[in-house]
C-alpha cells in the first residue's frame, strides 16, 4: 500500500461542483485544500500525480473516451456509475479503504456489492451533517502513517 504524499489535499470529484462548494468550505475549515475534477477522466489524471489525503467521488459523473470502454469492461455497474471506476483506480494506485469515499443520491444494490469488494466508503448524498461526520472520520487520521 502506498503512503500519502500530499496529506493536506483532498480530491473532490463531482460534475456539479457549484453544489459542492459547502464541502470545499468545510474541508478548508479543517485545514485541507481541495482539488476538484468534474469527470472521471480528469479525476484519474489527478490521481496519477500524488497519493492525496482522501478522494471523495460522486458516482454519477461523465466519462469520456478512452476510459469509457475500460470502465465498461469492468462490468455494467461501472458503465452506469463511472465514479466507481475512479474509486477502483484509486484503490489500485494504493489508496487505503478509508481514503476512498463515494457518494450518490440513490443507494444502489449493485454499487453496494462492488463497494464491499473494493473496500471503500459509500455514503448517500442528502444530509450534510451525516456526510460531515463521515468526512471527520476520514480526515481524523491518516491510515498510511505507522
Amino acid at each position: 500500500m502506498a503512503k500519502t504524499t500530499d496529506s493536506k489535499t483532498v480530491v473532490l470529484v463531482d460534475d456539479e461542483l457549484h453544489n459542492m462548494s459547502w464541502m470545499v468550505d468545510y474541508l478548508s475549515s479543517r485545514g485541507l485544500r481541495t482539488l476538484t475534477a468534474s469527470n472521471a477522466n480528469d479525476a484519474v489524471a489527478i490521481l496519477e500525480q500524488e497519493i492525496y489525503r482522501a478522494i471523495i467521488v460522486d458516482l454519477n459523473i461523465p466519462i469520456m473516451d478512452p476510459l469509457t470502454n475500460t470502465a465498461l469492461a469492468k462490468g455494467d455497474v461501472y458503465g452506469r456509475f463511472p465514479g466507481l471506476y475512479v474509486a477502483f483506480h484509486a484503490r489500485n494506485k494504493g489508496y487505503r479503504d478509508r481514503q476512498v469515499v463515494i457518494y450518490s443520491v440513490h443507494r444502489d444494490a449493485a454499487v453496494s456489492e462492488e463497494v464491499a469488494r473494493l473496500g471503500c466508503t459509500y455514503i448517500i448524498k442528502g444530509r450534510p451533517k451525516e456526510i460531515k461526520l463521515e468526512l471527520d472520520a476520514v480526515v481524523s487520521f491518516d491510515p498510511t502513517l505507522p
Partner: protein, 235 residues
C-alpha cells in the same frame, strides 16, 4: 391507475437526482453558516446568494414537473396579460446571476430599449426562458456570454426572441432534431453533467406551442447554438 412506464420511472429518478443535488448544496451551506465554518461577511453573503440560486433552480425544476403532470401550465386564456419582452427576459436572466458568475457566463440582452410587447402568460414565458438560460449556464462554454435579442418580425407580425451562445461541446446534428423530446439529452450535455431529466426543453416546446408559437434550434461549428422563439404578439 395506469402502470408507470420505464420512461416515467427513469425521468422521476433523474428528476430526484437533479433536485437533491442543489438541495444538498443549500443544506450544506446552511449547516456551515450555522456552525461558523465560513469566515468573512462577504464570503458568507456570497454563499447565501448561491444557496438562494440553488433553491430557485429547484423551484424551476419542480415547476417543470408540475407542468408535465398537468399537461399544461394550469393557466386559462383569460389569464393572458401584456408581456414586455425586455422586462421578462431580464427577470428570467436575473435568476442565473450567481450561477453564471461562478461559471463566467453572462446573459446579455442586446436591445433593452425597444419595449416590444406580446399578449400571453408571463409566468410560462419566464419558465421557457429560464429553462433555456439554465441550459446555457450548465452546458455553455465558460467565459463566453449568452446574447439575447428581441424584435417584432414585420413580415409575419410575430415576436422573435433569439438566444445565442457557445456550447462547451458542440451539439451533434443528429441530436438536434431530438432536443425537446421528452427524456432526451444530447451527447454534449452528458459529457458535462451525467444525469438530467430531459424535461426542460420538452416543457419549453410545449409551452411555446401552447402559446401559438414555435421553437427552432440551430447548432453550428465550434459549438455555436441558437434558440429562436417565435410568439404571436396577440394584436
Amino acid at each position: 391507475m395506469s402502470t408507470p412506464t420505464n420512461l416515467d420511472l427513469t425521468l422521476l429518478a433523474n428528476f430526484v437526482h437533479q433536485v437533491v443535488n442543489p438541495l444538498n448544496g443549500v443544506a450544506g451551506t446552511l449547516d456551515n453558516l450555522a456552525h461558523g465554518v465560513i469566515d468573512g461577511e462577504e464570503r458568507r453573503l456570497q454563499r447565501l446568494n448561491a444557496a438562494r440560486a440553488q433553491l430557485e433552480q429547484c423551484i424551476t425544476l419542480i415547476r417543470n414537473l408540475a407542468f408535465l403532470a398537468q399537461g399544461s401550465g394550469g393557466v386559462a386564456d383569460h389569464d393572458q396579460r401584456k408581456i414586455v419582452l425586455p422586462q421578462v427576459i431580464i427577470e428570467s436572466a436575473m435568476f442565473f446571476q450567481e450561477d453564471g458568475k461562478s461559471k463566467k457566463i453572462e446573459i446579455n440582452l442586446l436591445d433593452r430599449a425597444t419595449q416590444n410587447t406580446i399578449k400571453g402568460h408571463p409566468e410560462l414565458i419566464r419558465q421557457v426562458l429560464m429553462n433555456i438560460f439554465d441550459n446555457f449556464i450548465k452546458y455553455g462554454k465558460r467565459g463566453v456570454p449568452v446574447e439575447v435579442n428581441q424584435r417584432i418580425q414585420r413580415s409575419t407580425g410575430m415576436a422573435l426572441i433569439e438566444i445565442k451562445g457557445l456550447s462547451a461541446y458542440p451539439v451533434d446534428q443528429e441530436d438536434l432534431d431530438q432536443i425537446g423530446n421528452l427524456g432526451f439529452r444530447g451527447k454534449n450535455a452528458k459529457k458535462l453533467v451525467a444525469s438530467g431529466s430531459g424535461l426542460g426543453m420538452y416543457i419549453c416546446r410545449k409551452i411555446i406551442e401552447g402559446e401559438g408559437g414555435s421553437l427552432h434550434m440551430e447548432a453550428g461549428a465550434q459549438g455555436k447554438v441558437l434558440f429562436l422563439i417565435k410568439l404571436p404578439t396577440g394584436e
